[in-house]
Each structure stands twice: as structure tokens, then as C-alpha cells.
Symmetry: C2
Subunit: 145 residues, 2 copies
């Protein structure tokens, strides 16, 4: 994820304007290693800018995604999550209880499709999702049993 200043530069270079709302969103994403939902980003943005609309947040993250500065993940948790980590190839640990997402980088090389099964299909990306229960949810499940 680039800095707020770099993103401002890139937006201008693309002919997009840089508004206070957008800069607030840039700031929230910079160095954010969580994977906030758009809704969560919206809530965070509202705390420093109460008038911002959900639509603006969607618009901005879509622009960022179109420029390749973030990735929008649809991990089956019901809503998009914004992943600012696009520089390093990585995969995801997804908690099936709370929906939290964590990055993992794998040792070794990624799996590939056996040639005999490829059958004309050209693979552009390999996405690996580890689904399970995070430590926090495991703890609280334990205590409610």
C-alpha cells in the first residue's frame, strides 16, 4: 500500500480529484493490515468526518481497486473486504465464526493444475483460502459451552 501522498499523486495523474473524504480513506488504509469491510471503513471514516456517505467509500475503494492499489476480496463472508497488501503474493486465513481475515505467505511454491486436467483453461491466479477458527473465537466458544 502506498502512502497518502503517493496515492494523492496517482489519483491526480489519472485525472481523478483528491478530496478530503478520499484522503481520509487513504489514511485509514495506509499501514492497515486488517482486512476491513467497506462498512467498517465507512464507520471509521465517519468518526473523523461525520458527513461522509457510504457511497463515497465504495466509490473510492473501487477506484483504488481499478488502479491496482488495493484488492477487493469476496471471501464468502457476505461483503467485500479491502486488502491493501498488493505488493506481496499472499493467501488468507478466514475465521468462519467472526469473519476476520489474516494474511499468510506460503513456504514452497504454489500448487498448479495438472496438465492433463487443464484442458485449454489458462490459469491467471491461484487463490488459497484456509478456513477455520481463530484463537479468539476458539476461546469464547470454549467458555460458552
Amino acid at each position: 500500500m502506498k502512502t497518502v501522498a503517493e496515492l494523492t499523486e496517482r489519483f491526480r495523474a489519472q485525472g481523478l480529484r483528491v478530496t478530503p473524504q478520499r484522503q481520509a480513506i487513504f489514511g485509514l488504509l495506509e499501514g492497515n493490515d486488517g482486512h476491513p469491510t467497506v462498512e467498517a471503513l465507512y464507520e471509521a471514516a465517519r468518526s473523523e468526518m461525520p458527513a461522509i456517505s457510504l457511497k463515497t467509500v465504495y466509490h473510492t475503494v473501487n477506484d483504488l481497486a481499478a488502479m491496482g492499489e488495493v484488492e477487493l476480496l469476496d471471501l464468502g463472508t457476505g461483503s467485500y473486504r479491502v486488502d491493501p497488501n498488493v505488493e506481496h503474493a499472499h493467501h488468507h486465513l478466514i475465521c468462519i465464526v467472526c469473519g476476520r481475515v489474516r494474511d499468510v505467505t506460503l513456504d514452497g511454491r504454489p500448487p498448479s493444475v495438472p496438465a492433463r486436467l487443464r484442458d485449454g483453461f489458462s490459469v491467471a491466479a491461484v487463490e488459497i483460502n484456509f478456513r477455520g477458527v481463530c484463537d479468539e473465537c476458539a476461546g469464547s466458544e470454549e467458555s460458552t459451552r
Copy 2:
């Protein structure tokens, strides 16, 4: 995927009723190696039972999923796809153009999360999605260029 007769048996054993609508859906899924959307299943069911409702199809596939007889896949293509292949571990090739889904079984063992990154997270399932363009879509893109 079990046969229609076996599914009928299992539904009864669970205290669920077996209606003509449900049997029609069982029949459509048996030996189906595509990954139909719920909507597609609905269309197919309607051709042999015009009065069936979309709600009934959703209800039935949800029951099947709860019993572990099918899996409902959310692969980011906008809607659920029904995967009747639950007996053999497999992964998916997903065409980013047409949304079609194909099964793949990998040689070698599945990747795992390095212990140093696991950090209390217990992995229950590994899901690998290969995204790319299928042969048919590659062909038609070629021709429209």
C-alpha cells in the same frame, strides 16, 4: 452425490418430507458434474414442473447442504453454485469471463500454513481456486478482437 432413492431415505430419516418437488431436484443433481447456480437448477426444475417456486429450490438445496450431501459454493460469481461432489476432495477452476466452474484434483499434498504463522488459528478446510479463462471464452474473445 447419493442416488434419488438414498436421498429420499435420508430425508425421511431426518424427519423431513419428500415431495415431488424435492425428488425432481434430487434427480437434477444426481450425476450432475456441472456446478449449476440455484437459478439454473430452478429453470431446469421448471421445465418438468412449471409450478415450482424458486423458494422451494433454495430451501431444498439448503437442506441438502445442511446434511452434507452437497456443498454451496460462493466463488465470487454473484450467486451460489451447487456442488454435488462431496465424496472426493477437490478444488475449482473458475472462468472469470463466463463464471463456469470445473473440478480439479491436485497431485501432491495440499499446502499448509507454516506453524510460525498459525498463531492459534485451527484450519478446518483448505480451498484452492484457480481463476482464469476457459477454452471456450478464450476462443470467443479471440474472435471478437
